[in-house]
């Protein structure tokens, strides 16, 4: 039995149990699924399903008609961003869709393999499942973004390039080691540039200013500590 068939059987079973027993319904609950009636989404969260179905079960007039448990599709925009070395070592990752660690690892592995197997003179785009992967190599690092089918590849390349420029400005001709040893800084720059998969600040200057301002706050806080030490030395 294929998984699709299997799923269908479970679905029809859910239809059947709906009329009987709340615990059984809940045992089929899958956080990646929704319940829809006549194509209209009615419930998604666990509590929602539980409370509503209980109500219907108590109500003898309520007739449950169509129940669909369908897998949740991720939202769009930049889905995730990976930075990895020529050797396939992951240097940075940012996910804008909710994934379990296990599937993150699997996707990462597959995409790194797919990108590394590309020849140097190839285009920067490849189709991977129902996503488009846009990547570009800078020195020893690959920068790689996954976007949806109707997203603009060239704009994504520009986004990648903008990020590399930001890193370059921040670190002063950035190299892979800078990112390895200051990985948190690389993330901070990223968070100033992009939020929830959407470019939030296109001005390089503003991004760098924000990052630097925050670095200053951090240093001031460290400064406080040093003065504590000095106090101790005086004492």
């Amino acid at each position: 039995m294929s998984s699709a068939q299997h799923k269908k059987v479970i679905e029809s079973h859910v239809v059947a149990v709906c009329a009987h027993n709340i615990d059984e319904i809940m045992s089929y609950y899958d956080p990646n699924c929704e319940v829809s009636f006549d194509g209209q989404v009615v419930m998604r969260s666990k509590d929602d399903i539980k409370s509503k179905t209980e109500k219907w079960l108590l109500d003898p007039n309520y007739k449950v008609e169509i129940v669909d448990f369908l897998p949740v599709e991720g939202d769009d925009r930049i889905q995730f961003i990976l930075l990895f070395s020529r050797q396939g070592k992951l240097r940075l990752q940012k996910w804008y869709t909710s994934q379990t660690d296990k599937s993150k690892k699997k996707i990462t592995r597959e995409i790194i393999a797919a990108v590394l197997s590309r020849k140097p003179k190839m285009s920067s785009f490849l189709e991977w499942k129902d996503l488009k992967v846009v990547y570009k190599r800078y020195a020893s690092l690959y920068f790689c973004c996954a976007i949806e089918q109707d997203d603009n590849e060239l704009l994504t390349l520009e986004t990648i390039h903008r990020y590399v420029e930001l890193l370059d400005k921040y670190f002063g001709s950035v190299c892979e080691l800078d990112i390895i040893f200051n990985f948190e800084k690389a993330y901070f720059i990223f968070d100033e540039f992009i939020l929830g998969g959407e470019v939030q600040e296109t001005s390089k200057k503003s991004v760098l200013k924000a990052v630097n301002d925050q670095d200053v706050i951090q240093e001031e806080e460290l400064e406080e500590k040093r003065s504590v030490l000095e106090d101790l030395g005086l004492a």
């Binding site: 956080p31 369908l70 992951l90 994934q99 285009s123 603009n152 929830g196 101790l232």
Partner: protein, 877 residues
């Protein structure tokens, strides 16, 4: 006492500060990992143990440091979900340094389902409203990664408040975060929308861009609710200079146009202006895509949209000609969209697409291939296929070559061979394709050969003799490596030669070459076809020899002699067929000896013509009058009969097949057997193990055989190809010089090339003839000067210069039934199931809808009215 407390405090503070210095820092960890390349896992496990110790300390800076290291390890693939609570501790620190580290860790490892998230609500609320804008920003960045339905519900109002912040930096983030809130809590959309809409006109361009982003994302999924915003977006599109924003807006208009065609007309002008003016490729590409989409949706309403398409195609040509592989790839991608609606415009750039086939990048070649199949016509089919064949010889990588092969077949066979004018040429192409080493498409080629031979009656003589050549060289296919399925073509070859053997030039020779083949080494289904068709050829030979008994006797005796080896076939069906064939022949031999043989008795076995049957024919057979499918055929068994007899309909069949009687029916094993027997037979390819074994034994026998010349075939083939390439390149201008070498003496030129040239010459001749007819014998001198207009004139009605070949299209259907569209597609079920859950469906909210409490609800027609009117009035101020 008091003294010592303060002392203690000071020491503790000092320890806190020192602590960070004495711990292993992130740098040390990274360096350590790099220094322990051989036993990384061990080193990291030790480091994790240390981190666990550090997390137990009371010292927040030590904890933050530990969490920072964990974030790094998480990236390397180590599970750190156990530290979720510690991460929250660090997030809740009131020092920005630690908060930043904590939120980063959370955004990397928390997800919707993380349990501890419910503990964070109040902390995040506090951080969002912090007086430090960076604290608030850090919280928003983190939240955008791990927000779930509960957080979205509880924090929606706080985020809305941030949208009114005095700092654009905060407003911008709040707006973007709001989108995540909507996705996780659709109920928040309606109340938040008015404020979001306001942000489209925010004084800060960054905030404005953020609002455009969010609304465009929402609208792309549920465009109809956002039609009313079209004027605002239209204004933004004509005024904004931010490419990021422009691209979003243009994409949005692409989604709105199908709902409001009048919008499309208005859009074309600003879009074409942008196409002309922009230097940003991303924007240009977006504009072209949208123009194409818009023109598709309003194709009927616009008279002069051809200009726009031409502009797009021209710009795309520039992209494709660019040396940048990315632009080339996208250019081809966009071309294929135009091809669907405006094939003529794309066909004009045939040359360019052809060039792309030589590109180094396989993905670009595949895109170009896709385009080509939509571009073929009667006129250019042979050129395109020839180019692809040459290309196949040069190309590397069996995947790409297989792709080419299937594309060639797809191009040629599309819409029932609509573009093929010369089937001899096509058959020779198919035959040449069998020489492709290691192809996986043997089956595909075989099916094409069968299909063409059955459908195109006039090609049968040619096809038969080509197939006979294949059969005579069948040994080549035995030697081929195990990964290829090219031997499948013999299945077609044997059948065609047998079925249409009257067209064979030398049937007896073909028979002999079949009998001399080591048929037994082929897969079972091919063997079966061979045995069956041996009989057909013999029948024909006897029939055509006017019952020459001596010849018949000699033939039959020879065949019987050779056939006996085939009885040892390992395949049951093949073995059975071999045995039946042999017995028929033995009977024939006996009859001949008694001079009682009548060939018509034998030929009756293969009487009748095989016609193609339409795919739906079986389903379309009408139930004849008087036939009641529900009625019993035999009387139902009475109660008194053996109760174990339950499945009646099957009994009749099994009785028929097995010739046995009812005593067996009661046994269960028997009925299982019959049900298996009735299942359709699957031809099973030998497993890789078996093939491996076969190959081993073959290699051994090859090595033992002094007469076996290793690889000789291979080199010969490539030589042949090389010469044919050289030759053909040198003769690119061949068709224009008719008369010269019409049939080249050089035998190394492949057959398809010969036919290609011949038909080019024919075409030219017909063209000339037609021209001279229409010119009424104008002078030859004028030919050169007026060539261009001639070609144009001919192009207009080019179809009549091609010979028409009778092709049986479609297939037979029961009488009175027409082949109708999709009315009984049985895959409706599949299409419904395909749509996955889309979180945007829940965001499908009509903002014009009045709340339910309102006393008056306008009828739906009035609801839609205002949005349309808004679009109608020109929005540009």
């Amino acid at each position: 006492m008091a003294m010592s407390t303060t002392m203690d405090q000071v020491v503790k503070r000092a320890k806190d500060s020192f602590g960070q210095m004495f711990d292993k820092s992130l740098h040390d960890l990274v360096r350590g990992i790099r220094n322990h390349k051989d036993n990384e896992a061990k080193y990291i496990n030790e480091a994790i143990d240390e981190i666990k110790q550090e997390l137990k300390q009371d010292n927040i800076s030590m904890k933050a440091n530990a969490v920072n290291k964990l974030t790094y390890l998480q990236m390397l693939g180590y599970d750190i979900s156990w530290s979720a609570f510690n991460i929250i501790e660090v997030m809740s620190s009131n020092k920005f340094t630690f908060k930043r580290i904590g939120y980063l860790a959370a955004s990397q490892c928390f997800h919707e389902g993380t349990d501890v998230l419910m503990l964070t609500t109040n902390m995040i609320r506090k951080d969002l409203s912090s007086s430090s804008m960076y604290e608030s920003a850090v919280a928003m960045s983190g939240l955008s990664c791990f927000i779930n339905a509960d957080l979205a519900r509880d924090l929606a109002n706080d985020i809305m408040t941030l949208m009114t912040s005095t700092k654009p930096y905060i407003r911008k983030r709040a707006v973007l975060l709001l989108y995540k809130v909507f996705l996780n809590n659709p109920d928040a959309l309606k109340p938040a929308f008015p404020r979001l809409k306001e942000k489209l006109e925010d004084p800060d361009p960054g905030v404005q861009a953020a609002a455009v982003n969010v609304i465009c994302e929402l609208a792309r999924r549920n465009p109809k609710n956002y039609l009313a915003l079209a004027p605002i977006f239209f204004r933004l599109m004509t005024t904004s200079t931010n490419n990021w924003v422009l691209i979003k807006i243009i994409k949005l208009f692409g989604a709105l146009t199908p709902l409001e065609p009048r919008l499309g007309k208005k859009l074309i002008e600003p879009l074409t202006n942008l196409i002309h003016s922009t230097s940003a490729m991303s924007l240009l590409y977006e504009c072209i895509n949208t123009v194409v989409a818009v023109l598709v949706s309003i194709s009927s309403g616009l008279p002069n949209h051809n200009a726009s398409i031409q502009l797009c195609v021209q710009k795309l040509r520039i992209l494709i000609e660019d040396s940048d592989q990315n632009l080339k790839y996208l250019g081809l991608l966009a071309m294929s969209k135009i091809l669907q609606t405006h094939p003529k415009s794309v066909q004009a750039h045939n040359d360019l697409i052809m060039q792309c086939l030589d590109d180094k990048d396989e993905s670009i070649r595949l895109r170009a291939l896709d385009l080509l199949s939509g571009m073929v016509s009667k006129k250019n089919l042979m050129d395109i296929v020839r180019k692809l064949m040459i290309h196949m010889d040069k190309s590397e990588g069996s995947h790409y070559r297989d792709e080419l092969l299937s594309k060639i077949i797809e191009i040629c066979s599309q819409s029932d061979y609509q573009h093929i004018t010369n089937f001899e040429w096509y058959i020779s192409i198919l035959v040449e394709l069998t020489r492709l080493e290691g192809t996986k498409h043997g089956n595909l080629i075989a099916r094409q050969m069968l299909d063409v031979a059955v459908r195109v009656e006039s090609i049968r003589p040619f096809a038969c003799n080509q197939m006979a050549i294949l059969l005579a060289n069948a040994h080549v296919f035995i030697i081929g490596s195990s990964s290829t399925t090219v031997a499948e073509v013999l299945y077609a070859a044997a059948w065609i030669c047998g079925e249409f053997c009257s067209y064979l030039k030398e049937p007896q020779k073909t028979l002999e070459s079949i009998l001399n083949t080591k048929i037994i080494l082929f897969p079972g289904h091919i063997q079966s076809v061979y045995y069956q068709n041996i009989l057909k050829i013999i029948t024909y030979l006897i029939q055509s020899s006017d019952n020459d008994e001596i010849l018949a006797k000699q033939l039959v005796a020879m065949t019987i002699d050779k056939m006996s080896i085939f009885l040892s076939s390992g395949d049951v069906e093949a073995q059975e067929r071999a045995s039946i064939t042999l017995h028929i022949l033995k009977t024939v031999l006996k009859l001949i000896e008694k001079s009682e043989f009548n060939v018509n008795e034998l030929s009756a076995l293969f009487d009748g013509v095989l016609n193609p049957v339409a795919a739906k024919a079986q389903r379309k057979v009408a139930i004849p009058n008087g036939l009641d499918l529900d009625a019993w055929i035999n009387d139902p068994p009475s109660e008194s009969e053996d109760e174990s007899v339950t499945t009646d309909s099957r009994h009749d069949n099994s009785g028929f097949f097995y010739g046995k009687h009812e005593e067996n029916y009661s046994s269960n094993s028997y009925s299982n057997e019959t049900s298996n027997y009735q299942q359709p037979r699957n031809y099973v390819e030998p497993t890789t193990d078996e093939l491996e074994k076969q190959r081993e034994s073959r290699k051994q026998s090859e090595n033992m055989n002094p007469f076996y010349l290793k690889d000789s075939k291979k080199t010969k083939l490539t030589q042949k190809h090389e010469t044919s390439i050289d030759h053909s390149n040198g003769n690119e201008s061949m068709p224009s010089t008719p008369g010269k070498g019409a049939i080249p003496a050089n035998l190394q030129i492949s057959l398809s090339d010969q036919l290609y040239r011949q038909s080019k010459i024919d075409e030219e001749n017909r063209r000339l003839k037609k021209k001279s007819k229409s010119d009424g014998g104008s002078s030859k001198k004028g030919k050169k000067s007026s060539k261009k207009s001639d070609i144009a004139a001919i192009d207009e009605n080019e179809d009549d210069i091609y010979p028409t070949v009778q092709v049986t299209r479609g297939g037979e259907l029961p009488e009175g039934v027409t082949e109708s569209g999709h009315e009984d597609n049985d895959d409706d079920i599949g299409s419904r199931k395909n749509k996955k859950y889309d979180p945007h469906r829940a965001l499908n909210i009509d903002f014009n809808e009045k709340p339910i409490q309102a006393t008056y609800t306008p009828p739906p027609s009035q609801l839609k009215e205002p949005s349309k009117k808004l679009v109608e009035t020109p929005p540009v101020s």
